[in-house]
Amino acid sequence: MLKNKSFVKRTRKGNVVRTVKEHYLRDDINCGLSSCTHAVCKEQATKPLSSAPRDSTQWGPHYLVPDTNAFVNQIDVFERPIISDVVVLSTVLDELRGLSMATYNRVRAIVRDSDRRWFVFSNEHHRDTFVDRLAGESPNDRNDRAIRAAARWLAGHLQPAGITPVLVTNDEDNLRKARADGIACCRMDECLGVYCEHPELLDMMGSVSVDELEKWEGYAEHLSAVQMQAGLKSSLLLQATLQIAPYNYLEGSVYTKFPDGKERRVLIIGRRDMNRAVQGDRVAVQIHPRALWRKAPSAALVDEDEDAVPDISKKDPAAPAVPEPSADATQAGDGHVQKRARLSAADGDSAATAPAGFVHPSDVTDDRDEGEPTGFVVGIVKRNWRSYCAFLDPHFAPKGARASNAPATVSVLAMDRRIPKIRIRTRQLSVLAGQRFVVAIDAWPRDSRYPQGHFVRALGDAGDKATETEVLLLEHDVPFQPFTKNVRADLPAEGAGWRFDAERDQVGCGKRQDLRHLDVCSIDPPGCTDIDDALHAFALPNGNFQVGVHIADVTNFVKPGTAMDSEAAYRSTTVYLVDRRIDMLPELLGTNLCSLMSKVDRLAFSCIWELDPEANIVSVRFHKSVIHSKASLTYEQAQTRHDDPQMDDPVTRGIRTLNMLAKKLRRRRTEAGALTLSSPEVRFRLENDSQDPVDVEMKALKETNALVEEFMLLANISVARKIHEHFPDSAILRRHPEPPAQNFDNLQQALKPLGIALETGSSLALAQSLDRAVLPDDPYFNNLLRILTTRCMMQAQYFCSGTCTPEDFRHYGLATEIYTHFTSPIRRYADVMVHRCLHAAIDRDADYGSVLTDKTKMAEQCEVLNHRHRMAQQAGRASVELYTNLFFKGKTVEEPGYVTQVLQNGFGVLIPSYGIEGVVYTTEKGAAAKPAAAASAAAALEYVKETHTLESPAGGPSIGLFQRVRVVLQVDDKPVSANVSSMRRKLMLRLVEPQIDGVSVPPAELQALRAAAEESRRGKLSDDKIVELVTEHPEQVKTI
């Protein structure tokens, strides 16, 4: 079966070399048709293609054979289950890998799904379909030819079965040649025409040319890949990922390493300078001349894009619509456009002849007087487009009555404000109004102001809880589909009937210790079903204590290399929303087999210390175990047991011992400089059936919370030491870098008038100065300060120990030299990896998968973990926000709050009683809505950089950090499709005290609002479902 026909392939790399590769062409590759009678095809196992595929008048029964671009542009269409019986050529897959890994993975996912009946035909390895590249033929032409050759072979091969393979391509040249060769072929739209019962497929087609109505000169041309390479190589250009400011979609920035080795930020302001780059794209950037650098304060601009998003088409194209730009920056951004010298191909690689139009990156210094460098995008290295949740731009009013299914071109706004408007063509305009749907960007041609995209699928009505939840999951890239068949197949065959078995679970051979005699208990929040951890403690005869932390042995069920493992690695974390939980592992494991429930035998990974009475570690050992938890307690129950002198059972005694030791551990940690930080957290009491939030309450902590936390920290630290010792290169650890001092600048400024100074030199100094920062007349102040300090911190992150020097391992917040996550393997994949590491460290024969020792793969997985972790946190917060909005829907409440953030044209206010934060805008831009306010808006408050406050020029009251204000909370109740703001459903805050003209609610309106508030309160009293609001101060919540 081995064809000994080898040949020579030549590829050219950077410096021209000749690579010789062997290529064995085969004659045993099958066609994929399930009933093929051909001798070769009969033997092969994979043959998913149906013998009775879709029939059409034009081709009869047929298979689709799409080319590469068909997949790149139309992958959304292909993902629809209706499209089955598709032959994917290996030429196409190879090209896809090069073009877009994301699309490649999506195609692969469809192929894996056997119900879809897709087949990969390895034409590149087939003797009859392989084509050699001809002299002077471009790789593209060669691949097109290979695709045609494969289609022709398939046509001949499938003829006896009466099936026609239809080549799908939008390339004119390819179509023409295919026709000349007598191959059935068609364009994408023709091929979708066959699915006449699914008209929405045509909507989903990408790259439909959307006509731009008005004329304008367009964006600057992007540099070619070669020019870009030359520019980057000579460090004339900088390569970086574009980040758009969350508050202002017209202010972008890139962080990048300059030739002098320092990381700096380059601002990219205005649509023109961004030059068709979208959030997350990898771009090549050139720096503007110094005269155009931004000298204005770099405090965040707020963009209240809401109703003020101007319809650009009515404006002068040379002045990109910045609603309220920082004056000098944007003027600069516009004025210079025409005279800007462009990087031409000729001087692309000679740094010496840099024209006056830009600054060479190596000349950039940290001199603050020069302002912040600004730059412009000259080319895109790699696009980072994904699908976006979006809604119709309400400004787009369908003109007159039109046939409901006539195609129309509309702009849609993405939920993610950092994404520009997207133009799509749709036939279902009337259906989409007021709905959320998914769109994808196809292209952004030079002469189009906005990117062009296509409709992917509808999600449902805006404002609907289910729809909005799906939107926030999609927007935060949370995989929330149910677990696939393959994943479920990896669950234990016994299902929920799984029982501990001494033989199978290796107790007999000493690999697992039987600890069922110990008085283990678990302490968790009420309603917790995924119990990760359990504890025990007792006094030893020598006066010391034995303390054990038992963690669910997830890796006993999740073996490396299984589908379940890769799914868990992909999900990386369980995501907690207000009303639901998106599990990392199937429920059977998470809430049953792994969960350390009481009164059943469960497998665990135990970490057992001997601690002396001062809670110093005498010894520590780790081993797999089987435990039998005596009780699963809530924090409250544990607290009650601890406090009740009547109780004297072993479990209670254990809790008392643990508590005593935990206090000592905590004291020592605090002395070492562990920070106690705070963040406002809200919990909702939901009405059971409708799941509408009835009440908002703050999460409260008990002493027993601290107890559990203390021992989890101890376990994590002990494990981190152990795995780092055994795998110095590839251990997964978690670090928290020290925040740079300038992060505290604004906070220090605001604290100065209060006579308080934060010492940021070390975490110990910071912790102590935080403890001292108390205002006698304001008990909440200290907590507020901790919340604001938290925001100055860096993000903690997972990393692979081989990629960092040991000095960088430090966890600043916890004040420990080394740290990892070990204690929650049910809900975090990092812990699963750590479990495997630790198991391999204590047991030579452990099966841990090859990834564990591969530094690069570990580093890659860490990136995924960090991304997912961040996204999960944001999704959780977004869910709280969604519920907050639902809670306040139709209510008007007046509350005291604190200023937590001062911005150019607004300020952030935290309302302690709800733990909600929102922005009060000082400049009203909805001129139509509030004409009176708009007139005086511009002059009402001005940002003063020196004091980091908003001053009113007339000498009235000013706004600064920590200031106490009163605000009115509202969620407007307008129909969702009325305007952009109601589509985004933002909580609206309006200032009541202090009274500032043009910013605060005018007194007359205030009266009306107060009446409304009274109304809603009365309404609330009559409503017996609503429980008293819990308004106690949030206890200090630690963020690790």
Partner: protein, 246 residues
């Protein structure tokens, strides 16, 4: 950038082979008339030329070397043009010495050294083109050349590599597969008659539980190579017989 797909889900490797397939092997004995024994061996694009001199009087009159058993010297050279980027290697290159040492140790066990007292056998190996599997090619070619030189051996020594890609054991890694950092690369040499292992060498890491599968595959490969070598020896013998009969 995306990593190269070494084994497609369709079960085909980069060069179109299935996991359990060897590359094309062609070999010939007696290619150099000046040497006592010689061979030319191709496995895919890995090409090796071996010359054997001996047994002969030891060159250095070192009493320590004048032992009861024959000394085996192995010199391994890599042609500068053997890879796509031409690079000259010094004689002291540790990698070259390592390969030479492996080959020497392998044949110290296979050659009946006590037959040739106070003598030495020199094996010169030249790698002309490298596309992965250097060590296996060297061992196989040296076997052929030793047989050609008429040196008494216990048995043929047949070597083969196997690796582990995408959770699948794969036979006979080519250059591209070998270059991927994470591919474990196991070279096994056996003496087919009694199946004893003459050489076992591995690069990168592989979990113990997978070792058996990979070993089994490599040994299968060795057996296949044995028939190839056997045929080459037979062909050389026929050649000789033909020459003598004239």
């Amino acid at each position: 950038m995306s990593r190269q797909e070494l084994l497609s889900p369709e079960g085909l490797r980069v060069d179109g082979r299935r996991p359990n397939e060897l590359r094309r092997i062609s070999c010939r004995a007696s290619v150099l008339s000046s040497a006592d024994g010689s061979s030319y061996y191709e496995q895919g694009n890995t090409k090796v030329l071996v010359a054997v001199y001996g047994p002969r009087e030891p060159r250095q009159r070192n009493p320590a070397l004048a032992t009861e058993q024959a000394q085996i010297n192995v010199e391994f050279n890599v042609a500068p043009f053997s890879t796509s980027e031409r690079r000259r290697r010094s004689k002291g290159d540790k990698r070259l010495l390592e390969v030479a040492a492996f080959v020497r140790q392998t044949f110290e066990g296979a050659v009946q050294r006590s037959v040739y007292q106070r003598s030495q056998i020199d094996i010169y190996i030249h790698l002309l083109q490298n596309d992965g599997g250097t060590l296996e090619a060297c061992v196989n070619a040296a076997t052929l050349a030793l047989v050609d030189a008429g040196i008494s051996m216990v048995d043929y020594v047949c070597a083969c590599t196997a690796g582990f890609v995408e959770e699948t054991p794969v036979l006979d890694l080519c250059g591209v597969e070998e270059a991927a950092v994470e591919t474990p690369d196991l070279t096994v040499a056996i003496m087919p008659r009694n199946g004893s292992i003459a050489l076992l060498q591995m690069e990168s890491r592989l979990h113990v539980s997978k070792l058996d599968d990979v070993m089994d595959l490599a040994i299968e490969g060795c057996k296949h190579i044995h028939t190839k070598l056997d045929n080459a020896v037979l062909a050389a013998a026929n050649d000789l017989a033909e020459k003598l009969s004239h």
